[in-house]
């Protein structure tokens, strides 16, 4: 500990350090003189720091918590910006498929179906190999293969030799070697020999591109007028899933769904829990007893089993309704603990001297609740909320992994991991990326929650 030698006799746990009297003038470096010396203005003696300022300072000092907050924020921003990211960064939409025999590995390329950039430097005549004035899928596909080939043909001799091959991204069939594919035995590979390894625009997808750009009734070819450029391949930075959908874009879609479920389901459980707990705490007496007994009994229920049952039963409802069901079902799991916490808070706060003082001063009931009770009860609730979100996200991932959560075309990190779990031996990235995204976000939320607890509610630390 860096600050241990300064005050050797004390325990050196920084979280336990009690801040001394602090005046508002204490913004910069600590002045050498005693801040509470009589030379200070009288105001600086009276004005303390609020609970929230104190907590904020403690939180900012906690590096793990700050890092966690930043990671969560980053994920949330990415999730919000899915459409622009998909349009301008990854250039793939989350549901477009680029069918290959097997999932494409990291660094492989495809021609995007929606947001393809067109390269108009390639003249129509060069693409139109048979010179009949119309481009068909075969010609487009072949042209893109040649383009790919030229990209890797460093010495431009029309052959890829053993030195040039390593630049070629390994595709589903692995990294091609000269020995494997050299059918004419000249020690290097031609476009024809490499064939499928260069295929970024299969004929079916070329057909789709042509249909998109065709303006006349003939949708199987492009005329000179309709042709405005050759679509350019883009890179799948994190590979694709088994259906050839871009993993990075899907991960961001997954972030949207996973975070949304995590936060909204937590909100739901807090809504129920706060209502229930506050009512019980305020009313007290027999009603309180009855309400909390009910909570006690429900506590013994294995809720997640009922949720599984519910999700199985409502398997076939539309994807967006299923999302609402998830919010409700997962929200129903967490409210019990919330109601206990809130009730405890309400009961202990009701009896506090400052509430009595406020009442004696004639402060109205609403003002007491708004200005005194809620701000003071909020600390533990915020802390518990932050620690609930990762739990809910994990539960959602668990359900999606069983095939009971969100469904295509939506994706959550859990459903992505489930897609990859069957084939992770051959294609480890299918489970590693969603697993990593989930683990990093949960870790960040847990660190943030821990930090918030240390900052807002230091006495609640039980583990």
């Amino acid at each position: 500990m860096g600050d241990a030698p300064r005050i050797p006799p004390l325990q050196s746990d920084p979280a336990d350090e009690v801040p001394g009297p602090v005046s508002p003038s204490l913004k910069g470096p600590v002045p050498a003189s005693d801040p509470s010396a009589p030379t200070g203005s009288p105001e600086s003696l009276v004005k303390g720091t609020s609970l929230w300022q104190d907590a904020m300072r403690r939180l900012v000092r906690n590096k793990a918590a700050v890092t966690g907050a930043m990671v969560v924020l980053l994920m949330a921003v990415a999730a919000l910006l899915l459409e622009p990211i998909s349009r301008y960064v990854t250039r793939f939409t989350y549901d477009e498929m680029h069918l290959a025999v097997e999932p494409k590995p990291m660094g492989a390329q495809s021609v995007p179906q929606v947001y393809a950039r067109l390269d108009d430097s390639v003249p129509f005549a060069r693409v139109d190999a048979d010179g009949n004035g119309a481009l068909d899928a075969v010609e487009l596909s072949a042209m893109l293969q040649q383009q790919q080939f030229r990209r890797y043909d460093a010495n431009a001799n029309g052959r890829l030799d053993a030195n040039e091959l390593p630049a070629l991204p390994a595709n589903a069939m692995g990294r091609p070697t000269v020995e494997q594919l050299d059918t004419d035995g000249d020690g290097a590979l031609s476009v024809g020999e490499l064939g499928p390894h260069l295929n970024v625009l299969p004929e079916s997808e070329a057909q789709f591109f042509i249909r998109q750009h065709a303006e006349t009734a003939d949708e199987s070819t492009l005329s000179r007028a309709e042709y405005s450029g050759l679509p350019q391949p883009e890179t799948h930075w994190l590979g694709t899933d088994p259906l050839g959908r871009d993993m990075l874009t899907r991960l961001i879609m997954g972030a949207r769904v996973s975070l949304m479920v995590g936060f909204i389901a937590t909100l739901v459980s807090f809504f129920i829990g706060i209502l229930w707990g506050a009512t019980a705490g305020f009313l007290g007496g027999r009603i309180d007893n009855l309400m909390m007994r009910f909570v006690d009994v429900l506590y013994g229920l294995p809720f997640l089993f009922l949720v599984i049952l519910l999700m199985v039963i409502f398997q076939d409802i539309p994807a967006n309704q299923k999302l609402y069901l998830l919010f409700l079902a997962l929200g129903a799991v967490g409210w019990l603990t919330v109601s206990r916490i809130v009730r405890g808070q309400v009961i202990s706060l009701k009896e506090n001297e400052y509430v009595e003082a406020a009442r004696a001063l004639g402060v109205s009931k609403t003002t007491i609740i708004l200005r005194h009770l809620i701000p003071n009860a909020l600390g533990p609730i915020i802390v518990y909320a932050t620690l609930t979100v990762p739990g809910v996200m994990l539960a959602e991932a668990f359900l999606s992994f069983l095939g009971l959560g969100v469904q295509a075309p939506y994706a959550s990190w859990g459903s992505l991991a489930a897609d990859g779990a069957d084939a992770f031996r051959e294609y480890p990235w299918l489970i590693i990326w969603p697993g990593l995204a989930l683990a990093v976000t949960l870790l960040a939320l847990n660190f943030l929650g821990d930090g918030l607890r240390d900052a807002l509610d230091p006495q609640a630390r039980t583990d």
């Binding site: 500990m1 050196s12 746990d13 006690d296 009994v297 429900l298 013994g300 229920l301 294995p302 997640l304 089993f305 009922l306 599984i308 049952l309 519910l310 199985v312 039963i313 409502f314 398997q315 076939d316 990762p390 994990l394 991932a397 668990f398 992994f401 069983l402 009971l404 859990g414 991991a417 489930a418 779990a421 992770f424 031996r425 480890p428 489970i431 697993g435 989930l438 683990a439 990093v440 949960l442 870790l443 847990n446 660190f447 821990d450 630390r461 039980t462 583990d463």
Partner: protein, 316 residues
């Protein structure tokens, strides 16, 4: 104490009744029935089958019949999907496997979590503490369905030490048993090991601030003796109280782990029976799971009094 246990038993039965009722009606509200997927059968056959399973009676009668046979006879009736087997038989096959997996995961959680938490507490704010606690945080954050495949990739495929899937019971010999059970119980237990470590550390730190520990120190007792005789008992109370929820989590987690490691336990029955609308089997698995949970929670609460004489249930 006796009154407390009685009271808890009553509320446990109440919980089971709620569970059975809730699952029964959730299942019946759902579209589809157990015999929908069969090729279209003659009307008389269908009626006969429905009569056999009481499906022709009004819903409330079915509910009461079902409830009576479960509560009074412990009989869940015949499975609707596996006509030759009773639900009790199916459960009896899967339970030992799931229980073994659960218990072994609990052992893993304690075997890793307790020492880690203890070391972290004794070396508070030293590198061992930071390592253990960061490790625990990472352990909590990695979902078991991600950890499972990673473990398989590392220790069943890269290093062929363990089996990638399947299950050998202990009667097949210790080595075959361990080959199939170590990886799933690691995958299932590690998150709980992380919680146990955090709770142990917290409990130890709390206890060592108590006066009686200071007294023991002042007497000049050796540190290890203080830990063993005085501190550990109190420090373990939060851990013991966590075992109930931990076990509940492991039960649910086992559904996924059994799927990943292809283990013939109860987990697959639970999800599949719900898919198949095999009503009796759904109720059977869910009652079994809840029953286990309820009993374990009771055991944990009683263990509480043994560990902590301050806790008394006389007036509860």
């Amino acid at each position: 104490m006796f009154r407390y246990i009685l009271k808890r038993l009553v509320s446990s039965v109440l919980v089971l009744v709620i569970i059975v009722t809730a699952s029964f009606f959730i299942m019946r509200v759902a579209p589809g029935g157990p015999f929908d997927t069969e090729r279209s059968m003659p009307e008389e056959v269908l009626q006969n089958i429905q009569a056999k399973y009481n499906l022709d009676k009004p819903l409330w009668q079915q509910y009461l019949l079902q409830m009576k046979s479960i509560m009074l006879e412990g009989d869940f009736g015949p499975s609707m999907k596996y006509p030759n087997k009773s639900v009790n038989d199916i459960l009896a096959e899967g339970l030992p496997v799931s229980m073994t997996l659960g218990v072994q995961s609990l052992v893993v959680a304690l075997l890793i979590g307790l020492p880690a938490g203890l070391i972290a507490a004794l070396k508070q704010n030293q590198w061992a503490d930071y390592t253990a606690m960061t490790g625990a945080m990472v352990g909590i954050s990695i979902p078991n369905f991600v950890l499972g495949p990673i473990l398989i990739a590392l220790f069943a495929i890269e290093l062929p030490w363990f089996a990638a899937a399947g299950w050998n019971s202990l009667s097949a010999g210790l080595v075959p048993y361990l080959q199939t059970s170590v990886l799933p119980s690691l995958a299932l237990g590690s998150a709980y090991a992380a919680y146990v470590a955090r709770l142990t550390r917290g409990g130890m730190l709390e206890i060592t601030r108590q006066d009686y520990i200071q007294t023991a120190r002042a007497k000049g007792l050796r540190e290890w003796l203080i830990v063993r005789r005085h501190a550990l008992r109190g420090a373990l109370i939060p851990v013991v109280s966590y075992l109930g929820p931990a076990f509940a989590g492991m039960l649910t987690g086992s559904i996924v782990i059994e799927q990943i490691f292809n283990i013939p336990g109860l987990g697959s029955h639970f999800v599949n029976s719900a898919f198949n609308r095999d009503y009796p089997l759904v109720l059977g698995t869910i009652v079994l799971y809840s029953g286990l949970l309820v009993v374990l929670n009771l055991v944990v609460d009683i263990a509480y009094t043994v560990l902590d004489p301050r806790v008394s249930y006389e007036d509860a």
